[in-house]
Amino acid sequence: MSEPGSLAWWHDVWRCFAASVRDQRTWLDDLDAAIGDGDHGTNLNRGLERALGALETSQTPRAGLRSVGMALLGTVGGASGALWGFGWTKASAAAGDGTGAPTPDEVVATLSLFRDAVLERGHAELGDKTMVDVLVPALASLAAELGTQRSFAEAAATAASVASERAESTIPLVARKGRASYLGERSAGHEDPGAASMALFFACLGEVS
């Protein structure tokens, strides 16, 4: 296993995420078809191929994550393209520039910048039935567990299970942001696709650590 926060580790994370989205593309599209426009899996999948390529030619985590963000911004489109793309161009600022050894704190700082950017762009709050409903609590769990001196691998595994629970708990919610909000009450009873894909991302953090 590579060191959390190292370039190799980020490679593993994005390779894992790209593979999950590729495998679950139809499922994500189906979730989006129920309450949105049916393209969420297709959108992310289109961008992740490109993001992987960009990451592979980068020398540092910081440069690599910035180019991941740019690649997502330029290929995904839609709401998730803006959020994931913009989010990672911002998040990269906290990632290592290759001068010091990678630390778990660096990973948390990076993910926190990502979360802040997503909140800044999307103005979504907890309970609006979006990816934020997964991102915020899963990241909080990761940070908290690390604070109790657990290993990164353990903390990431816990965060992954929080993410997966929170994704499922978007099911009864009525959407207040994004395309699903146009359905009003009809949006209840379906898992939010963006929450589902965010849970896949956290699952990868757990898996590769």
Binding site: A33, G38, D39, G77, G78, G81, A82, G85, L183
Partner: protein
Amino acid sequence: MKKVINEVDHVVDESLDGLAAAFAPWVRRIEGTHVLARAVAKPSGRVGLVSGGGSGHEPAHGGYVGEGMLDAAVAGEVFTSPTPDQILEGIRAADHGAGVLCVVKNYTGDVMNFDIAAELAKEEGIEVRQVVVNDDVAVEDSLYTSGRRGIAGTVFVHKIAGAAAERGDDLATVAAVAERVIANVRSMGLALAPCTVPARGEPTFTLGEDEIEVGIGIHGEPGVRREPLRRADDLTDELLDRVTSDLGLESGASIAVMVNSMGATPLLELGIVARRVYQVAAERGWHIRTAWVGEYMTSLEMAGYSITVLRLDDELAALLEAPASTAAVRVAR
């Protein structure tokens, strides 16, 4: 899925090539991008107009590029908002030194991607303003949600703001005219049959033989309500009523109307809708100055239609009737 396509992944790219060639008197495709810009740029010192969104709404948006309307249209994948780098290309092409107005439909994705592009353009020293069209009365408007969607009424914004830009209004004025259109335009649509996004390959929803979706958007989404199919006049009365009561339309008002096919509903049927709109307008004392009946903001091959009403004042009417020459809208001098 039965479609006239080659590869699912090349639909938008190939279509843009063909439409750019056929629409060559009006547009050119900026190489390597999904942007259709005017074949002949407008004189420098005039405000530029950019719009765009997902593909699948043709003739929106490339069909509205040309004299008197847009300067550039940016196409995303089917029903997916375009990316900021593409929008930035459109803004660059539309900039002739007097700033650029982006006409954005109110979808989270569109708004965020246009926002990011506008920030990038500002970093390049281009003055950019945005207006967000939210004409769909089917969706409840609330501070706590993303608000209403932008649908067919957007085309009236293109036409009127385009005419203002063409006559030389400055950016603030063009934006204010666009906002006046947005404040006075409302739409609502319904679907008799869904559409199929090529990348997905399956209909976006399924309907029984006698069911319709009322309050649909333009991305193949289900509407806000499912109900039995009724007579054309009943359906039209309901849409018209929702649209005009939201607008608070008063007797004696001058209006422009759009009866827009979602794609598969033929002009023959739109004529039946238009007839009813004229009847109701006569009863209610609304004066229809212009009626656009046809395909203006489609949703691939979805069956159904939307009705748009725009309250006109003298200036909006004059700008709506000002000359335009685009692939899809032409108004003679």
